[in-house]
Symmetry: C2
Subunit: 423 residues, 2 copies
């Protein structure tokens, strides 16, 4: 994989030029893309031209001219944006999404658009898991996770409404970071659910996603300088623990032991029943809003939607305003309860997904992600572990709302602890 | 003016057909539009065709085939959408905004796009106040307010980020309703500030805006059936009271007396200092987000922006993430404080604007609206009063967050009390 941080350091040291980074990507794409199919479109020539022409200015900016992959539910004026749906074949937005402009302002180059599932829902995409072709890369940010895992780009942007950043990051063995709700603007991102949609980052390691997020958000989020203080970690199994595979349960418990051995205070905690209610509220809020967010497509073009999406929207039509309002009230109470719980800890530790990547007939289950998306807390999928068949497993660090840097720091601590474990 | 409720009742009684309502609009447009200039585009033939062809189905739907004007920052696939900016000359979105689909689902017909100020900011528009040509209709939903006031359409949709629904409603002497934050989806609405942007309605009276909102939002918001219980009303002058004209102060105080005479419990309240902090936080949040929401336009086309917008964005570039985060924390604390205050009352009574509509060199001041937009509470501008020169004055009812029906009921109560006062 290409480490964004390592590339940035080499650029700072004068050992590497932005155009040479593009060349590294081009080489990896030539070697892997035919099998992995992570991209919907590429602008290698454009990125290379820009890297050459503006090298002097780019290397002084936070992203140093590094290339970025952008999920194809995010509007770009210079490349087609099809939202993974035939309804938008050849669609070219007039305007870049805010996040794309933020990437450019930070000195990043748009390398290409990465595969999204249809409107970021559950229909499996063409992308394959770079670790093993018979497995899904996860969804819905399938191409973003796979492109980073295959070393084709150092940073990719995705989005999460259920579990679309943390789950594919875990399946592909890369770091994934879903920031606090609304830390990043979703202006120009195809909306699925306005209470849930959250942009996120993929990169080789936790330090790399923190570097990318810090640069794009223009915030103090970097965690690569010096030692990280040992966090207080709470292992939370939730009522979904039986849905995790034996390998995943062992991975989380081993991660807890590794963190403890590295000096972290680790304890078990049990969430109050309101959190189970909130887990169920997620689906009501998501589907009620999707029925409105996709009203135009559903009302005019439903014959060009996948069965899985159409069926969900059909059912969603009957969710009442009262049910939706009650789900939002539950969510609000749960957020308060979670804030109270987390006053006594730094982060929660929980699975990123039920296990390793399943076969490509699904994109896997977001069951371990939905609650945290609804709560809005920052989440990091920490790579480094594998199951019995050598497939990547991710463990998830959930931080306090608005404390994104602390979440990343704890995830980085965990990543180093896991490295000692597997060494 | 055309009362949506009265038209709907006539349709229900078989006395009026949807196509005849279109004819009423066509007639008013022929008489007034050349002077008022409320519309950017019209689809009179399309609306008429649809009203004739689908009459039987339309009259059974909540909006009964009534025509609607839609502010031109809201995407429409069938009519151009230019956001009031030359950057988007001739722009035709691929998709309707969610609110437009909701109008159609409720049996409303799109009559035309109404004038917005440039990107819903402060640059004065071409639209004139239907009551007196030498005065602004207010902004930024200038055309929506003016079109309703001139009787050219019974319902219009606008949006508010500072004071863009309540202020033009007051200046034009119509009812304006800004629902609770996120009651209506802003999917497909050009974003100015994602923490503030709120869609709203204009119609002839409070009962009419409630009818429109109930139909479009598919919620129990109607307040036209029977008597409304007398609300507890708190007159709140805020620290901005000195900015109101003598006429406006008298209007608010007379409204309080009228409500009291009609049986309401009216008392004065003073807001805690945190609300003043929140008032200032509004500008920081709005401008920080606008610098990101308009990144593409500012970075690539700033020469085609008005001076007033460009200058704001130039300044906004230097607002730090820390300042923004602090403003959000202030806002959160103020919301809690306001909820506590409002536990003992039903609604607040306060000016809709500093006074009547000023001359058209500005769109007037949103100073009496910004705080409530940030707080997210439902607001209603109640028409019925006039200043010494016969220009309309609006008084504002602010309800509890999420209690939109109660806010509309109290506003309706106030409207009737004012009618008795001016009779």
């Amino acid at each position: 994989m290409l480490s964004a941080l390592a590339l940035a350091r080499d650029i700072d040291a004068g050992k590497l030029k932005p155009a040479q980074v593009i060349d590294l990507c081009v080489k990896a794409i030539a070697a892997r893309e035919a099998d992995v199919q992570a991209f919907v479109s590429l602008d290698l020539d454009g990125a290379r031209r820009c890297a050459e022409r503006s090298a002097a200015a780019l290397v002084r900016q936070p992203l140093r001219g590094l290339p970025i992959g952008v999920k194809d539910i995010i509007d770009t004026a210079d490349l087609p944006t099809e939202y993974g749906s035939p309804i938008y074949n050849g669609h070219r937005p007039k305007t870049d999404a805010a996040i794309v402009s933020q990437v450019r302002r930070a000195g990043g180059l748009l390398l290409g658009k990465t595969v999204t599932t249809e409107f970021a829902y559950l229909q499996p995409p063409k992308t394959r898991n770079p670790h093993k072709a018979g497995h899904t890369p996860g969804g819905s940010s399938s191409g973003s996770a796979a492109a980073v895992a295959a070393g084709m780009v150092p940073i990719a942007i995705g989005s999460q409404t259920g579990g679309s950043v943390i789950r594919p990051a875990a399946f592909c063995g890369v770091a994934g970071f879903k920031p606090s709700y609304k830390l990043l603007p979703t202006v120009g991102v195809k909306c699925f659910s306005w209470h849930l949609d959250t942009l996120g980052f993929f990169a080789a390691s936790v330090g790399d996603v923190a570097f990318a997020a810090a640069a794009v958000a223009d915030r103090d989020l970097c965690v690569d300088a010096g030692e990280v203080a040992a966090p207080r970690v709470s292992l939370v199994r939730t009522h979904l623990w039986p849905e995790a595979t034996d390998d995943m349960r062992a991975a989380v418990e081993n991660a807890a032991k590794a963190a403890s051995a590295a000096g972290a205070r680790v304890e078990d905690i049990v969430l109050p029943p309101i959190m189970e209610d909130a887990f169920r509220a997620h689906g009501i809020i998501q589907d009620y809003e999707a029925y409105r967010a996709f009203a135009f497509e559903y009302d005019r073009h439903r014959e060009r939607m996948s069965g899985i999406l159409r069926t969900m929207l059909e059912k969603a039509a009957s969710i009442s305003a009262d049910q939706y309002d009650e789900a939002r009230r539950v969510s609000k109470r749960a957020r308060q309860a979670l804030a109270d719980i987390m006053a006594a800890t730094d982060v929660l530790l929980t699975p990123s997904a039920p296990g390793a990547a399943p076969d490509p007939s699904t994109t896997g289950s977001p069951v371990f992600n939905k609650l945290w998306t609804l709560m809005g807390n920052p989440c990091v999928s920490v790579p480094g572990l594998r199951d019995a068949f050598g497939l990547p497993l991710g463990v998830q660090i959930v931080g306090r709302f608005g404390r994104d840097r602390a979440a990343l720091a704890a995830a980085s601590f965990m990543e180093r602890a896991l490295a000692r474990l597997t060494r």
